[in-house]
Every structure is written in structure tokens, then in C-alpha cells.
Symmetry: C2
Subunit: 402 residues, 2 copies
């Protein structure tokens, strides 16, 4: 890769000019902050990608509807309750969250996006949410980025944030973002949420294009348990406070710079989600090369990261490359096994369709580290993709028994 056109900075969600946020302990979760308001002081354009689960949560419909015109300023989110599989009452509650926020924050209702994450099938405690929203609107500030990352956590063990700075059309541009997600993670989109706030000036069309491309190569490449969620939502708000000349052409150099910065942020957060997978003890990166297309590489990588028997032997530290072969074969991709090569931690176990002798002590050693890299060469083309996951542990099962 060429020299990076951006650099990572401290500060999390609120590094971009013009954004404020606030959090509240509304009592939806047993403890800790469980509501977040993110708001741009000036009008912003917006883009979102939303789960393809047909049982998707009520707030995803409100968000989809309100983001359709490419403009939104405010996100209201809660953790502890997914507002999914909640029928008509759930839809009314999601709309009510948007309306109350709009009235109190004095923005049009269709500029308010709504997100929920947590238990499925239980109605939101609306009296608590209605009590919290005015307080959230009153207390908007620029200093609560750490609390913002915490307010959307459910089974996450660490908050997840990322911020970058770059030059866009002669001006300093910034992106701040937070994400959550640890279980029910197989985005297409996962339950993951990600909120991205940037101060670049960009058209809604190009923001949507940049976000779609970034999500497909980041969040859509991670799997914790293969279980697609009802609530996955990634939202980007861009308020133009950086003062750069508008990014309104995909051929512009500054669009490329913005996309590179956005890709870094989304990949960084996606990997943080995989690393913090429920019960995870090891991080898994699967690099697929030699595919005929990115889709084919992604299909194979995804299948390997979803194969329970690969993930259990990552936990057990077993150099069991045969299960990787089985997963590749089960992926549905039209693979010729005679061309395939497989390596784990740099040790080739299968080359061009034939098993290869390896040193068992070396194999044991590469399985004893915290980050396992599996490389798969399909020898069918030039395309490649990278997918991420974590090991499957007894702790995962224990965590999800209730």
C-alpha cells in the first residue's frame, strides 16, 4: 500500500467539528449508560446501511425512511432492548423516540435516526425513554466521546472507537466513529451498530457510495457466530464544518482520500468487534487470494470464519487444516480443490491440492498465539478478500445460554 493519506488521532466519536453528544442511564440495561444522542449543530447529509434480516427491528424502518432523502442531523440510540419482533407497538415506540427527539432538539422529525440493540421481543420501557430524551437534549456537549462508546455496549467487554484526520481539498477533515457488537454478529449487516461523524463537505450520493463500499469490506467481512442480527445499522453523518470544497465527483482526489480514511475507520472497528467477540480468546484473520472475484474470495473467507469446527480448533490450539479444507468445500463457491493451498501462521499444510509435511512443533507454536492468520490461495484468479472472526469457546456458549 502507498503512503497513507490520513493518520489516526485520539478523541473517538466527537473529533469532527460541529458534533455534540450526550448519554443517559435510563434504566433499560441493569446498569451503566444505555442511551445516546449524537447531534450535528449544523445541517448534515447522511447515509446508512441496514441489516437484511427480514425480521428487522422497528427502529431500522424509521432510520431507513428518514435517511432516504440523504439528510439527517441527529441519532437517538438505546442499548439493552432491540425493539425487534415487537409488532405494531414496537413501530409506534420507534416513531415516538424520533418524534420526541425532534421536538426537544428542534429538528425536523425526518432528520432524526433511531437505533436500538439488546434483547429481542420485549417492548421498550417507553416511560423511561421519554423521561431521558429531554435530559439528553439539554446536556449535549463535546466531551463525552468515551461515554458515547459505552452507551451502546451490550455484551461488549471494551468500548470501540476510532478517529482519523486527513486533508480534503486544502482543509483538515476528520472522522470520528464508535461501534458496538460482540454476539449475533454476522453482518450483512450484524447486532452491530456503528455511528460515524465527519466534518467533510460531501454530497449525500457520494457519502452513500463511500459508506456502502466501506461496509462491504469491513463489517460485512466479520463473523462472530454466523448469526445475522435484526438490528445492524451503520450510519454516517457529514456536516461540512471542515469547510472544504464540496466533494461532489467520485473522480476527485479528495473523494479518494475520504474513502481511504473511511475504510480505515470501518475496518478498524470491524476488527475490534471480531476481537471482542463473545467469549473470544483469539482473533482470527482469513486471507483469501487467487479468486476469480472479490465476491468469490469473500464467500470462501466468510465460510471459513463461520465454520464452527474451524473456530473450536482455533480455541484449542489445534493445527487442524483439514477442517479449513472442509469449510472451503462447503462454502458454495465453485472451487477446484486440486489448485487450493492452505497455510496457518505461515506454515503451508496443503499446496496445490496435496497435503504437505510440516513440523508438528512449529505447527503447535503458531497455534499458541493470540492472533491466528489463515491464508488460502484458490489459484483461480487475482482477486482477494480478508475476513475476520474469533475462536468459539465454552465461554461463548455459557454467555448465550440466557
Amino acid at each position: 500500500m502507498a503512503e497513507k493519506s490520513f493518520h489516526e488521532i485520539e478523541g473517538g466519536l466527537l473529533v469532527a467539528d460541529g458534533f455534540v453528544a450526550s448519554t443517559a442511564e435510563a434504566g433499560i440495561k441493569p446498569k451503566g449508560p444505555d442511551m445516546l444522542l449524537l447531534h450535528s449543530r449544523t445541517p448534515a447529509c447522511a447515509a446508512a446501511t441496514i441489516t437484511t434480516n427480514t425480521f428487522r427491528a422497528a427502529p431500522t424502518y424509521v432510520t431507513e425512511n428518514h435517511v432516504a432523502n440523504g439528510h439527517a442531523r441527529t441519532i437517538v440510540a438505546n442499548s439493552g432492548n432491540a425493539n425487534a419482533a415487537t409488532g405494531e407497538q414496537g413501530m409506534a415506540n420507534a416513531r415516538r423516540m424520533a418524534e420526541l427527539t425532534a421536538i426537544t432538539a428542534q429538528v425536523p422529525v425526518d432528520e432524526v435516526l433511531v437505533c436500538s440493540t439488546g434483547r429481542i421481543g420485549v417492548q421498550l420501557p417507553m416511560e423511561r425513554i421519554e423521561a431521558a430524551i429531554p435530559e439528553l437534549c439539554r446536556s449535549l456537549n463535546r466531551d463525552c466521546a468515551p461515554e458515547a462508546a459505552q452507551a451502546i455496549m451490550t455484551t461488549d467487554t471494551v468500548p470501540k472507537e476510532c478517529a482519523v484526520q486527513f486533508e480534503a481539498g486544502g482543509k483538515r477533515g476528520r472522522i470520528g466513529a464508535i461501534a458496538k457488537g460482540a454476539g449475533m454478529i454476522c453482518p450483512n449487516m450484524a447486532t452491530m451498530l456503528c455511528f460515524i461523524a465527519t466534518d467533510v463537505a460531501i454530497t449525500p450520493e457520494l457519502l452513500r457510495q463511500a459508506l456502502g463500499a466501506a461496509v462491504s469490506k469491513s463489517f460485512n467481512c466479520i463473523s462472530v457466530d454466523g448469526d445475522m442480527s435484526t438490528n445492524d445499522t451503520v450510519i454516517a453523518l457529514a456536516n461540512g464544518e471542515a469547510g472544504n470544497e464540496l466533494i461532489d465527483d467520485e473522480e476527485m482526489h479528495r473523494f479518494t482520500v475520504f474513502c481511504e480514511a473511511l475504510d480505515f475507520v470501518t475496518r478498524d472497528l470491524a476488527k475490534k468487534i471480531a476481537r471482542d467477540g463473545e467469549g473470544a480468546s483469539r482473533f482470527l484473520e482469513v486471507r483469501v487470494s487467487g479468486a476469480r472475484s472479490w465476491d468469490e474470495a469473500h464467500t470462501v473467507g466468510r465460510a471459513v470464519t463461520r465454520y464452527n469446527l474451524v473456530r473450536t480448533c482455533i480455541w484449542g490450539g489445534d493445527f487442524n487444516w483439514g477442517r479449513i479444507a472442509a469449510a472451503i468445500g462447503a462454502s458454495g463457491a465453485d472451487i477446484d480443490p486440486a489448485g487450493v493451498s492452505i497455510a496457518i501462521g505461515g506454515i503451508t499444510a496443503f499446496a496445490a491440492g496435496e497435503p504437505v509435511e510440516y513440523d508438528q512443533d512449529e505447527a503447535d507454536a503458531v497455534m499458541a498465539v493470540d492472533e491466528i492468520v489463515i491464508e488460502i490461495d484458490l489459484a483461480a484468479g487475482d482477486a482477494e478478500a480478508v475476513c475476520w472472526s474469533c475462536d468459539l469457546t465454552p465461554e461463548y456458549v455459557e454467555l448465550n445460554a440466557k
Copy 2:
């Protein structure tokens, strides 16, 4: 269902006239019988269904090739080694198993089918196999049905056999069968093996048709871990020793009777595999109704039985119907959530798109039994399907760490 046209009998694999078998401890597994020879004393027709995994094992190619003409008399099988991802040497070894069996048993090589199950990516210990095959051929007998079921076991905790008797065209017909499978089970086909020996007289075409239909509604409806194997094979041999008039027309009553008996045998063994899933403590049956087609019902049932987060809460005894909704939504079927109803253990939790109040004590009680039944009504048509699985337990992870 109308009165059954068959009844279950004791005796396992060898109840049908004219079949003999033998087992050996060849030392492929650490202990116990690990090779099986099944043989018809008279010519037999044969049908097989084989895994769709593109990384399928060498013996599946030999079996596919030899069964293509609809005739085979002998199956040679080993457990402890899958002979999968073993390249050219693996292919030569699978062919050698067939050739040596053919020579010693004095049958044409293309009447010998080969199956392996066990660890992937390791070459077969051919000297041990070559030493065992002559002994297997010498010791063929009609009394070793229990040992036959054991000889194909890997991580199975119990042998799996089933036998039925029925009247076919005025004669007594019988089907005896064994199966194995506990992990890497998501047949399409799964690692499961199933050998079926019947003495009815039937054409190869109708045997193939009956077997295909039976497998799609039995083995292809079970999932232990969602991981499609490299070796799954179901083989049926029919030697005509019952002396019935040939079944050569699908409109014949005796074809219907045979199919009903075969369906029972394959479903019985499929459920035994799900019940004996690696680390399983509870059996799960998912009944999907109101679908527009069997395929749609099967897609939804399969998705629910594959959803890790459903299977963990079955283990935990948590009446977490919301995860079932998420699994239905993630299935890829074109579902309208507003019509869907969900019940667990007879307690409706979600009716026509709305959550329903239920008594928590009653919900806890239905989750405390060994067999959990989930009913899903899609309210979109008249088709239905049943899928089976087991709970996901910490023991499953422990078992598969190495």
C-alpha cells in the same frame, strides 16, 4: 397419518435376506472396530447420495463412479480417517481399497463402494487396511449387525441402527440400516454415513428415486453444527431376495409401501444422529408450517436449527423466542414477519407478528425437558417441513478443540 404399512423390527443392518457383513480392528482408530464390509451374496442394485462439498473425500469419487450403473454388491468402509484433502495419493488409496476388496471377495471392482470417515488431511494407513481386507472377506457372516454399527462410529456415543418389515407384492420385504454421525453434521449430505440393505426387488431407477426423496426429508433436515462434511454418503443396496414381483413402476402400491418404510428408516436414523450430536444434552425439533413450498419451510427450519444463539439457549433452558425470530429473518426466505407465529413446547410467544404474553413459570417448565419442539407458522401457504438438531453446549466446544 394413515395406518403404517410397515413395522419396526429388531436386528439392525442384517435383517434383509442375503446380506452378510464383517468388521475388523485394523488400528485406524485408537481402539475398537474401525473397518466394515457389507456384502450381498447375490447381485444387487444400488443407489447413493453423496456430499455436495467441493472438497469431498477421495472415496466419494470411487463410490459415485461405481454406483453410476445402478449395480453394486459390496461396501468397504473405515472409520478414524476421512481420506479427504489427501490429493492424488488419497485417490489411489481409495481405488486400492475397492480393488483389493473386489479381488478378495471375487466381485467386479465396479460393484464395490468405498466410504471413509474420520480426520481430514491424513493419508490412510494402507498397510493396515490391506492386511484387514482379506480377513474381512473371510469372516463374512449374518450375526455381526451390532458390531457393524460400531465399526463406522467416530465421536458417536451410541450406535445407530434401524430395521423394518413390510409386505411388498405379496412377499415379506425388509430394510436394515446403520448410520453414524455426531459432528460436522449439516448434510447436504453431512460427516454422516448411512448404509441401507434391503431384500426387495426393485429397479435401480426407482431405488435411486426412493433414496433421493428419503434423504431430502431426513438427513438433509438435520444439523448438529451447520458444518457440511467432506464425506457424507448414504448408500442403499437392494438384492431382490424377498422374491417379490419387481418394483418397476412408481405408481405401484408396493413402491409406495417401500418408500414409506424407507422414509421411516432414514428419518429414524437422522433423528438418532441429531440426538447424539457432539456434546448434546437436548434434542430439538423445528416444525415449520404455512410455507409456500417445502423448500421454503425447509430453508426456515434449517436456518433455525443452524443458529448458534438458538442452540445455546436450548442448552441454557432459556425461553428466548426472540432469537428464533432473528433466525427466521436471517434464513434468506422471503418472509412477512407480520404473519409469523412462534411457539416453543406448545406455548405461543409470538402470534401473527405480535408478541404474546405468557406465563414465565410455564415457559421455564417447557424448557426443562430433554426434547424441545419449536413450531413456526409462516401463514403464507400450506407447505410444511420438520428439521432436527440438538443444543450447543460447552462440551461440543471442548470435544472439537482437538
